[in-house]
């Protein structure tokens, strides 16, 4: 299988304190990786390293087969951040304007957005069931709806690999369930590789095919099987963990009125 992420002997720390030490792993095309681990274990730091927002102390990162230092295909990478920290809710922008912005890699510098580009925006909004809200101000939507718009913004550039860093923080459980369903569909129907940091171990273990456990400065990745997950979770969290998740996943969960 083609490797979309390759990490070798990666170390990172703040000052003298190492957070990640000699970490190595790889993610293959079409994987849905759930990244879990206790607070402060370095999950978000790992995502920042993979997005080149921060630099490692040592080690190598390859994205889509290219060393991250020379990586130039950022248009093939999508990123959905924790909603609360990422935007100003009183910003006067419509849903369509927000999603259109990410057409930049397709359109390029100086050029204007044309009608055929708007069709791509409409399609992306339709995928997340938000096409009727395209003229609404982004700040006037609910938390769940805003997060769907940010996912549409990522989808419009048709990425091969999507990173999500706890995208369900501050969202009600119904919207959260629908978000997992959508990600599962994108992964299975479009073959998108997904790497998602989540605190919701129950939900992520339902949809992900691989689970990456981050803890003790390292990362262990395994196929997602229930027995293995329970054993590993006990090692990481220090006590028995029972997994409960609603396995029902409606195919039309992002249609109008569902959220």
């Amino acid at each position: 299988m083609e490797k979309v992420i390759e990490v070798n002997n990666l170390s990172f720390g703040y000052g003298q304190r190492l957070i990640l030490e000699n970490m190595s792993f790889s993610v293959e095309k079409g994987d849905f990786v759930g990244v879990i681990g206790p607070n402060g274990s370095g999950k978000s730091t790992l995502v920042k390293l993979l997005l080149k927002q921060i630099k490692p102390i040592k080690g190598e990162i390859k994205l889509l087969g290219q060393n991250i230092e020379r990586f130039n295909q950022w248009n093939k990478i999508g990123y959905v951040a924790q909603k609360a920290s990422s935007f100003n809710t009183s910003f006067p922008a419509t849903v369509e304007e927000v999603v259109s912005a990410n057409l930049f890699p397709k359109i390029g510098l100086f050029r204007r957005i044309k009608d055929k580009d708007r069709e791509l925006v409409y399609e992306a909004l339709k995928t997340v069931g938000m096409e009727d809200y395209k003229d609404r101000l982004i700040g006037n939507l609910s938390g769940g709806q805003q997060q769907r718009v940010f996912i549409a913004r990522v989808l419009v550039s048709e990425p091969d690999l999507i990173f999500l860093d706890e995208p369900t923080v501050g969202i009600d459980s119904e919207s959260e369930g629908a978000l997992y369903c959508l990600l599962g569909r994108l992964n299975q129907e479009r073959g998108m590789t997904i790497v998602m940091v989540s605190h919701d171990i129950g939900a992520i273990t339902v949809h992900a095919n691989k689970i990456a456990y981050v803890g003790n400065k390292g990362l262990i990745m395994n196929e997602n099987t229930e027995d293995f997950a329970k054993k590993r979770l006990k090692e990481i969290y220090g006590y028995d963990v029972n997994l409960h998740a609603n396995k029902h996943c409606c195919t039309n969960c992002w249609k109008k009125g569902a959220i």
Binding site: W74, S86, F91, P92, T94, L137
Partner: protein, 284 residues
């Protein structure tokens, strides 16, 4: 010609034609740049640059070069300084602004002591509509056109960076280069506007029209368009009133902008009240 359209009619006066021409260029340039500044929470940047521009004006008067040229050079240096300091203190944009503002005021204070008594700095504090020279007309027209054209060309990128700088960088937008260009555009806007509007009030022209526009706009594009309309209305009315009532143009323009903001807020509250009333009536 006689009557109200006679030789002394405002639009027939050469110096007023120049003032209106430059005024409209400023009215397009300043609010457009201002929308981005306001949305980046850098509303005070105009003050910081304008005080440094004043030091540039004083330097120009001492060195015998045109004050607008001096103001532009000082303002660009200050804007680049702000950008540099901003990167050293991410998330504390106001530190860089405060550092450059106090340095600018200090420098302007020191340099003004060396300006010969025949020259007046005060016309650059509150602006002036009289005696705009051919050289100044050309330099202001050229610089304003460059700012407006560059802003229009980078509109989509500026929107993306302002809304979400990290996502813009990931999408391949050359964020550093565009931030650099925008810093220069802001500096030029402040420096050339100081001739008519004055250094003390130019920052209000960057902030007030966008503030009014944001109250009623339903999209980013509308925010820009309404800002320009508020800017043009304030400048044209301000210049006209300052001519007839013999008031300083900068002060008059800013007061009109402030009145526009108050009226917009009143209008918005009235509309909101009416909607609530309608909903309540329907519910009953």
């Amino acid at each position: 010609m006689s009557g109200i359209f006679g030789e002394d009619f405002i639009l027939n006066l050469g110096f007023m034609q120049r003032a209106y021409f430059i005024g409209i260029l400023i009215a397009i340039m300043a609010p457009a740049i201002g929308v981005i500044i306001v949305l980046r929470r850098q509303s005070m940047i105009g003050d910081s640059l304008s005080h440094t521009s004043l030091a540039g004006v004083a330097f120009g008067l001492i060195a015998g070069i045109n004050p607008i040229v001096g103001a532009t050079l000082f303002s660009i240096t200050a804007a680049l300084g702000i950008e540099k300091i901003r990167r050293a203190f991410p998330k504390y944009a106001e530190i860089s602004i405060a550092v450059i503002m106090s340095t600018g005021i200090g420098l302007a204070g020191v340099l003004s002591g060396y300006v010969k008594s025949g020259f007046s700095l005060s016309s650059y504090l509150f602006g002036s509509i009289i005696a705009i020279s051919d050289f100044e007309l050309i330099i202001i027209a050229v610089l304003s056109t460059v700012v407006i054209v560059t802003f229009a060309a980078l509109f989509k990128e500026l929107f993306f960076i302002t809304f979400d700088e990290e996502a813009a960088r990931l999408a391949g937008v050359p964020v550093k280069i565009i931030n650099f260009i925008f810093a220069v555009l802001t500096a030029v806007t402040v420096a050339v506007s100081s001739r008519i509007v004055g250094t003390l009030v130019i920052s209000s022209l960057l902030v007030l029209p966008p503030a009014s526009a944001m109250q009623i706009a339903k999209s980013f594009k509308q925010t820009i368009v309404y800002s320009l309309l508020y800017g043009i209305f304030s400048i044209v009315t301000g210049l006209t009133l300052s001519f007839y009532l013999d008031m300083v143009p900068g002060g008059t323009i800013v007061l009109i902008s402030a009145i526009c903001l108050v009226l917009t807020l009143v209008y918005k509250n009235l509309v909101k009240g009416l909607i609530v009333k309608k909903t309540l009536t329907k519910a009953n």
